[in-house]
Symmetry: C2
Subunit: 382 residues, 2 copies
């Protein structure tokens, strides 16, 4: 929560017609985050993961600061170009691409692509000849709060074959990428993945390919309820791991922060629609907000991400009681926290505004178009 | 799959620029479904659950056939009115409502509201004076494929107090509602809930309130992979349960089919973007489609709903192998079926079009606005 966001919300409340939940992102915080990444990893290029928050204001700010961009689709590439970045600062980092989308990306000037299998290499060789490709390898996600499935990446041994296939088809076998899991709270998580990456570098070298780059992925956490290590701590741990596994031949590196770049810059303001019990003698109250899983808080899925919530009833003497927290739709799956109820002041009332912090990433674009007739999350970038 | 949908898709393919997944809904099937409900439960009014598919074409068709409408928000009320139904055919069935939304619904003419606690009654007494309210009671969901949480409803004993509170505030204590769980495959599931409802009727009678109506909710299934009983079987089982618990004083009844009205009317056509393995000797292939959890298939959450999928490689002699099925976004949670892999022909190839059946309900409006830059699901109602 920043003074600028607080002031913005005060003005918004003065406009009585301005109802419904909204996300407010403080661009000054995004700027600080970018500069902290740049400082903590001075030899590493920052590719902002656009999917975390593709708002034009965020992209324009980061383009101006010199950031590069990791995109998931042609639409995201177009947004980045519109924000003023050139195509040589863009990677298409999605390992799942239609060949015609690769062709469109190539036509727009993009020359850096992620792959994790030979079929994907074939598409790029045909539709984006001569481009650089990096192969994503699987890595475990111990320590991540939003661990990744095996959806992206291949086993390291297969990566060598995939890169050799690319090399044979005239592509530049450029490097390796991995992802240690989103909201990774352990700075040492990169160590094991870098050991695998170094092994792939050696195996490729044995086959006559000199890889240049390691994409360290994202995973940098934002502060929710628990404290997280500083970006500086991540930078130091990653540098030590690079030294350990690559010795004096440290490759070019890039990082892809998304949540770490914008998560803590945003606050969602929501309204308490109802506080109720299911029977007279229930211990747990149900608190219903005007935002839920389908309005932007999709990452509460399985209660993985636990956002800090501020209410106007907070205070040193506020008595708390456990609440089940739910969204406003008629979908019974639209419950945010139930397995571990959320403690909120017992004085909380219908109509109270609550602030859901750390919501600058992976919220607005997850909103459903119109489920139950509710509009997508309003956003303001200030 | 109907001949009309097949023909529509053939024409669409002829237009080479028409890419991306789409939902096609055959309105003739919706009409048949409505008429089957009307026939199976001749004394019951049908309130179509608009949230299942709020497309103007569906609403206009059903308004013309004489259906009533269960809505979740003011926006849905406005859509129904725009489709030509009058306000006396609309209920606001969401138990979680802002008071200003109740006021707007009242101004639009709506006089029938769902509640499940006294606080909600207070709002309606203030913002929609004199209206009818029905109280939702909790019921178990044994037999449902998409079981409901305790999010909506209160214990039956509390419902009597809630209705008495409404009565004292000048509202009409109109009846009881319950929901036996979505995709309920057991026609006898209504029996136990009707026993509870009858008990509330008696207790209210003892306190001088004569309830009139039982809202039997939705839950009527659509056929996915397993066969489901006919609507006629549901009608007969419900009628017997009403007789058993209400004797000769059978109340007015309404039903709220959503999935049962539109689910089997829709087919999503998607494209295979990638087929790959994670290592050379993997048993399971990964098949990536251009639609996933955030593009309309949200109900694959926890792999609850298992859609039938047709491919151009099907056939009596097609050899099948288990696949993990995933969507196109860079979100590792965007996996449709993994715990129980989906058997698909081993000859399936990149670029193949697949048909995902039974997708007329709870798909298009769940689409995210733009996650990863992907557009919301295109829809065609023919």
């Amino acid at each position: 929560m920043t003074a600028r966001i607080r002031e913005f919300l005060r003005d918004r409340h003065a406009n009585a017609n301005d109802h419904g939940p909204c996300l407010v992102v403080d661009l000054d915080v995004v700027r600080d985050n970018y500069q902290n990444f740049a400082k903590a990893l001075p030899d590493t290029r920052v590719f902002y993961a656009v999917k975390a928050n593709p708002a034009a204001e965020v992209l324009t700010l980061l383009a101006g600061l010199g950031s590069c961009f990791d995109t998931a689709s042609v639409a995201e590439i177009e947004m980045v170009l519109a924000a003023g970045a050139t195509a040589d600062r863009i990677s298409l980092g999605n390992t799942i691409k239609k060949e015609r989308d690769v062709a469109r990306a190539y036509a727009l000037g993009v020359r850096l692509y992620a792959v994790d299998c030979q079929a994907e290499v074939d598409k790029i060789a045909r539709a984006a000849p001569g481009s650089r490709v990096f192969c994503r390898i699987l890595s475990d996600c111990v320590g991540a709060e939003w661990p990744l499935s095996r959806k992206f990446g291949c086993e390291p041994a297969m990566a060598v074959d995939v890169l050799e296939h690319a090399h044979r088809l005239g592509l530049e076998a450029y490097g390796i990428s991995f992802h240690v899991g989103s909201q990774q709270r352990n700075p040492h998580a990169w160590d094991r993945a870098l050991a695998s990456a170094a092994a792939v570098f050696r195996d490729c070298g044995d086959r006559g390919m000199n890889l240049s780059m390691v994409n360290l992925g994202g995973g940098f956490p934002t502060k929710y309820l628990k404290n997280v290590p500083t970006v500086k701590a991540y930078g130091a741990a990653i540098f030590r791991a690079l030294r350990r596994h690559f010795g004096n031949r440290i490759p070019e590196t890039i990082i892809e922060p998304g949540r770490g770049m914008v998560g803590n810059a945003g606050v969602i303001e929501a309204e308490v629609v109802l506080v109720s019990k299911k029977s007279e003698n229930d211990d747990v109250r149900w608190v219903y907000l005007d935002i839920g899983k389908f309005g932007g808080l999709a990452e509460t899925m399985d209660e993985s991400i636990r956002y800090p919530i501020r209410t106007p009833r907070d205070g040193r003497d506020a008595e708390l009681a456990p609440c089940v927290l739910a969204g406003p739709t008629c979908d019974s799956a639209d419950v945010l926290y139930e397995k571990v109820p959320y403690p909120l002041p017992i004085s909380l009332e219908i109509g109270d505004k609550v602030l859901i912090e750390g919501t600058g990433a992976y919220t607005a674009t997850y909103s459903s178009v119109a489920f139950n007739g509710f509009a997508p999350l309003q956003t303001f970038h200030i």
